[in-house]
């Protein structure tokens, strides 16, 4: 299952027509202690680059943008009770939402793990 990364520090796991989205370990480290994650509604249509979620850490609120366009099929309900999952397991249990991919060509131009690591090292 290929994993893509954006320069806005999101990861996207693609399985067929479905994509799972979360934020990277680097992102959670920058945010610090996360106290609330506002997720999109199931059925909502997200446009690439549009608002998808808001992450509230102790210090500030940060926007998460949709890395690709699609319809939300599922959100991670576990984050409601335990938003700190994003800190403890950002790239597995702390996933945010799943999308049905509307335009797979949008995946072109995203980074793979090696490229993302190089990108983070350059920051």
């Amino acid at each position: 299952m290929p994993r893509y990364f954006t320069d806005e520090h999101e990861w996207i796991d693609v399985e067929g027509e479905s994509a799972t989205v979360g934020i990277t370990d680097y992102a959670q480290e920058q945010l610090g202690d996360i106290v609330f994650v506002e997720l999109p509604e199931v059925g909502a249509t997200l446009d690439k680059g549009g608002d998808a979620s808001v992450v509230e850490s102790v210090k500030a609120a940060s926007d998460v943008y949709a890395p690709i366009s699609g319809e939300v099929t599922e959100v991670n309900g576990a984050l409601e009770d335990d938003p700190a999952l994003v800190n403890s397991s950002p790239e597995e249990e702390g996933w945010f939402f799943r999308l049905s991919i509307s335009d797979s060509s949008e995946l072109k131009g995203l980074m793979d793990e090696t490229a993302y690591k190089a990108f983070v090292d350059s920051l």
Binding site: V35, E56, V58, K59, A60, S62, D63
Partner: protein
């Protein structure tokens, strides 16, 4: 995702910088402990014109360590000032300072300190500050982001015979938490005898050198603790000696902000400004009773009017605490509603690690400001239920003597 700039809302602490006059354009200055913070693993951010540590291990960890043990905060960005009277009139500095603020300073005994407010002629708050009678002079500790304006204000209004000194070569370290008293007594014997809002001069010897420490038992966390003024040449040694005690860890501005919010302590530039007065800001305790009778200070007519309005229930608005339901914080700028009516605005808000829930300070229309009033905060189109709650949100634990 896009990270919100860490110098945003909660930490900026400036008052006069409009949006088109952002302080990013100004070169950042370096404080005496800059290298020390970096060695300790701090994440540094711009704050009040300096590079300051926002966190080391993490805000919640540092917050909880302060409440359970003791933390060391560097607050050297704050302005440390002193007013000295001429030899032939030793009471002049206190008398003249009293014209600019509502606290009793002439009756302040040596070694005692008082929280006060510099006021405009209209009763607006120029800054909040600590005033101490050190014996030889009156010392002031003012907000970092306000210090240059404060100095200009003092120079303008104090007579030339009063000498104003800015101790910009001194660091200010805050040791805060329930273990602070025992930690400092072990390192600097005698400091443990200080009680809340008293201060004194102590000596601390290290490497055959003696440093003079001006130690005040006060702080900005709601916990027992000290603020220690030390010459910059000794600051790193003192900081290292303090964190060498396993009960002490360094903490950053992030934890300082969440701690002071829980303690109900206002932050200048957010909860206080020249557009707010001490009565609306719920700081009437800083209006000394004796000084209210004489009324001989800047802004008194306006303050007397606000006090009368407060008595009669016609005050326009008041700073209150809000406890929110759920986990989503309402931050500075969030609008507060009673039904469909806008009744106020959040001036500081965040997540309380101690309570495990969001809390806020807000200015609320007086008719809706009574404790227990049910209101709603609007955050991104959502209405969050909130209740007007007494402050502090977490009880103060100051040391007032055995």
């Amino acid at each position: 995702m896009r990270f919100v700039s860490e110098r945003c809302c909660t930490y900026q602490g400036t008052k006069d910088l409009s949006d088109d006059e952002t302080p990013e354009d100004l070169p950042l200055e370096v404080l005496p402990l800059d290298a020390w913070h970096r060695e300790q693993g701090a994440r540094m951010v711009p704050f009040a014109g300096y590079e300051m540590p926002i966190q080391y291990e993490g805000i919640v960890t540092e917050h909880e360590w302060t409440r359970s043990s003791a933390s060391l905060f560097d607050v050297s960005h704050m302005g440390q000032l002193a007013l000295k009277s001429p030899e032939d009139d030793p009471g002049l500095a206190a008398r003249e300072l009293e014209k600019l603020l509502p606290g009793a300073i002439t009756s302040l005994k040596p070694g005692r300190m008082r929280y006060s407010l510099l006021l405009t002629e209209a009763g607006g708050i120029i800054d909040d500050l600590m005033v101490t009678n050190t014996g030889p002079h009156i010392s002031l500790v003012v907000n970092g982001a306000c210090k240059w304006d404060d100095i200009a204000h003092l120079r303008e209004h104090l007579p030339d015979e009063v000498t104003l000194t800015h101790y910009d070569d001194f660091a200010l370290l805050a040791l805060q938490g329930p273990e602070a008293g025992e930690v400092l007594e072990k390192l600097v014997p005698g400091t443990g005898a200080l009680t809340f809002m008293t201060a004194g001069l102590f000596e601390w010897s290290v490497n055959d050198k003696t440093a003079h420490l001006w130690v005040s038992r006060a702080g900005y966390t709601g916990e027992d603790g000290f603020e220690i003024s030390v010459h910059e040449s000794h600051a790193a040694n003192l900081a290292s000696a303090l964190v060498a005690d396993e009960r002490v860890k360094p903490a950053g501005l992030g934890a300082r902000d969440s701690l002071r919010l829980e303690a109900g302590l206002p932050l200048y530039g957010h909860d206080l400004s020249q557009d707010t007065d001490p009565v609306s800001a719920d700081l009437t305790f800083a209006l000394s009773k004796k000084r209210r009778e004489t009324g001989d200070y800047h802004g008194f007519p306006a303050i007397a009017a606000r006090l009368a309005e407060s008595e009669s229930g016609t005050l326009e608005k008041r700073r209150v605490g809000l406890k929110l339901e759920g986990r989503l914080p309402a931050r500075e700028g969030a609008v507060v509603f009673a039904g469909d009516t806008k009744v106020g605005t959040v001036t500081s808000g965040g997540f309380s690690p101690t309570l495990g829930a969001p809390i806020a300070m807000a200015y609320i229309d007086f008719a809706h400001a009574a404790e227990g009033t049910r209101l709603e905060c609007e955050v991104r189109g959502k209405r969050l239920p909130a209740t007007v709650s007494p402050m502090p949100f977490v009880p103060h634990r100051y040391f007032r003597g055995n």
